[in-house]
């Protein structure tokens, strides 16, 4: 292999570049990214960066002095992939021909239809989004967060700490029921109400009102919630439109084997845009977690360099964390498919719960709130049992 092109210059793309060099790839390495920034860390965008306790320079994912001998093409979008030729077409009309391609284009924030053009309405995915939101939060006022998922909950918690008046609106009866299940979703999202943040569940959003600036969120039950700032946190969609017509198999993201290989030879996909096969569950899953974007490129690069001649090792159970209202929330495994969940340690009122999800008596997932030590033990146990 003489040229490898990595498309997407964030955590998964950078991790792939590192893995390539670590595994001895010595050829030309091109990393293409449509943001102008060098790779930066997203989790602080809803936490320490948004609150102002972390500066922009602290977000860099590259330590000083790291030299991966990468040719960075930043501020330019990939608009197409010629599958058989393995050529990446760029928005400026140029083309990067490669022997191997790593797709790492991540995900983009979903928006609500009909919210364009109103000022005061934000989504949060990029550094530029976070700068804009941070500047507005600094002015104070009433914030309405649409969506009680992790990003929405973290923004609510940060804004609460900054002294804003915060309301969270969630369409489902229980926030976080998807990733955490009903019971624990209820316990974790009670952090809002415990802190005096209003949580309205089971009601959809009909639209926003305002002339040039948003002034209220209109709910489907007829209520109108006054707002100076609105954050739309309704999930993310994989950035794979640019692959249309390339012949690559797409479903929810890029469809991959258990080692990141796609339906095209010499092309792998990693991070939030990739839907890897999970051999244990017998299905494809797209996982939007930091640790997956960091760890999985190693296996994908091995597969890319070996041309698929190696058996992938068993992946660790997926793991993510979230910080809300000063509580460290950690989760590993899959809640879907569990038939019981028990609190093994701590109490919900003390916000230090350790809960284990089981299926037919076997642990399949673990949730911790301010329980890093016990959580790690259980996470190890889940990995060993896998």
């Amino acid at each position: 292999m003489r040229t490898v092109a990595v498309v997407g210059a964030s955590l998964a793309g950078l991790s792939a570049a590192r893995s390539l060099r670590k595994q001895g790839y010595d050829g030309r390495l091109v990393v293409i990214g449509d943001e102008l920034h060098r790779p930066y860390d997203r989790p602080p965008l809803s936490k320490e960066f948004l609150s102002g306790s972390l500066a922009e320079a602290d977000l860099a994912l590259e330590p000083d002095g790291e030299d991966l001998r990468v040719q960075w093409l930043l501020g330019v979008r990939a608009v197409g992939l010629d599958g058989p030729q393995r050529a990446v077409r760029l928005a400026d009309g140029s083309e990067v021909r490669a022997d191997g391609v790593v797709i790492a284009t991540g995900a983009a924030a979903r928006t609500l239809p009909g919210t364009d053009g109103l000022t005061g309405v934000h989504t949060l995915r990029t550094l530029d989004d976070a700068r804009a939101l941070r500047d507005e939060l600094a002015l104070g006022g009433r914030l309405v967060v649409i969506g009680g998922g992790f990003i929405g909950a973290e923004v609510a918690s940060t804004a609460y700490a900054l002294g804003l008046d915060v309301t969270v609106v969630e369409a489902a009866p229980t926030p976080l029921a998807g990733p955490l299940g009903e019971t624990m979703g209820g316990i974790v999202s009670a952090l809002h109400t415990d802190h005096g943040v209003r949580l309205l569940c089971g009601v959809g959003v009909k639209g926003l009102s305002g002339r040039s600036r948003v002034d209220a969120v209109l709910l489907e039950d007829g209520r109108s919630i006054p707002a100076d700032i609105v954050v739309v946190g309704v999930g993310a969609r994989p950035c794979v439109e640019w692959l249309a017509g390339s012949g690559i198999a797409l479903a929810d993201g890029v469809t991959c084997g258990a080692d990141g290989r796609t339906s095209l030879a010499g092309v792998v996909a990693v991070g939030d845009c990739a839907s890897w096969y999970d051999p244990r569950a017998g299905l494809h899953r797209r996982v939007e977690h930091w640790t997956g974007a960091r760890e999985r490129p190693d296996a994908a690069v091995t597969a890319l360099l070996a041309g698929g001649a190696v058996e992938p090792g068993a992946p660790r159970p997926p793991y993510f964390w979230s910080d809300q209202y000063g509580v460290k929330i950690q989760f590993a495994g899959h809640a879907a498919g569990a038939d019981s969940v028990t609190i093994e340690e701590g109490a919900r009122d003390d916000h230090n719960v350790l809960a284990v999800y089981r299926r037919s008596g076997h642990p399949v997932a673990v949730l911790g709130m301010n329980q890093p030590r016990l959580f790690t033990r259980w996470r190890k146990q889940l990995a060993a049992a896998a």
Binding site: T291, R294, P372, R379
Partner: protein, 120 residues
């Protein structure tokens, strides 16, 4: 400075012992029977590495999974970017002693600020 940590028999393999000094130091007993000491606080944020995942000669931070080499303190990948300080260890008559390093610790910004500003 040389400080006694704990007895070797009281620290099973695969376990860590945290010394509550300021900043805290942790002693790890690896599965291969080696003993190492490093600063307990992750260089990224306020996490206790004694709570982490010990595998071979590496400990993985319990929060965001950066791994530190117990022998050198080196970190493998972000989010942590700086190595953790290491300390020499001696075992004498079954007792583990830690020889505190005289290097400056690499504490995360939040913890460094707290130490500089006095007690939390």
């Amino acid at each position: 400075m040389m400080i006694p940590a704990c007895r070797l028999v009281d620290l099973p393999r695969g376990e860590a012992y945290r010394l509550d000094i300021d900043p805290p130091v942790s002693v790890f007993h690896t599965d291969d029977g080696e003993v190492f000491a490093i600063d307990d606080t992750c260089t990224h944020q306020d996490a206790s590495l004694a709570d982490g995942w010990l595998e071979g000669c590496e400990v993985e931070c319990p929060l965001h999974a950066s791994k530190f080499d117990l022998r050198t303190g080196a970190v493998d990948a972000p989010p942590a970017k700086r190595p953790v300080r290491t300390h020499a260890v001696h075992v004498e008559d079954g007792m583990i002693y830690v020889q505190l390093s005289t290097d400056a610790p690499n504490l995360p910004p939040c913890v460094a600020a707290r130490l500089a500003g006095g007690p939390a």
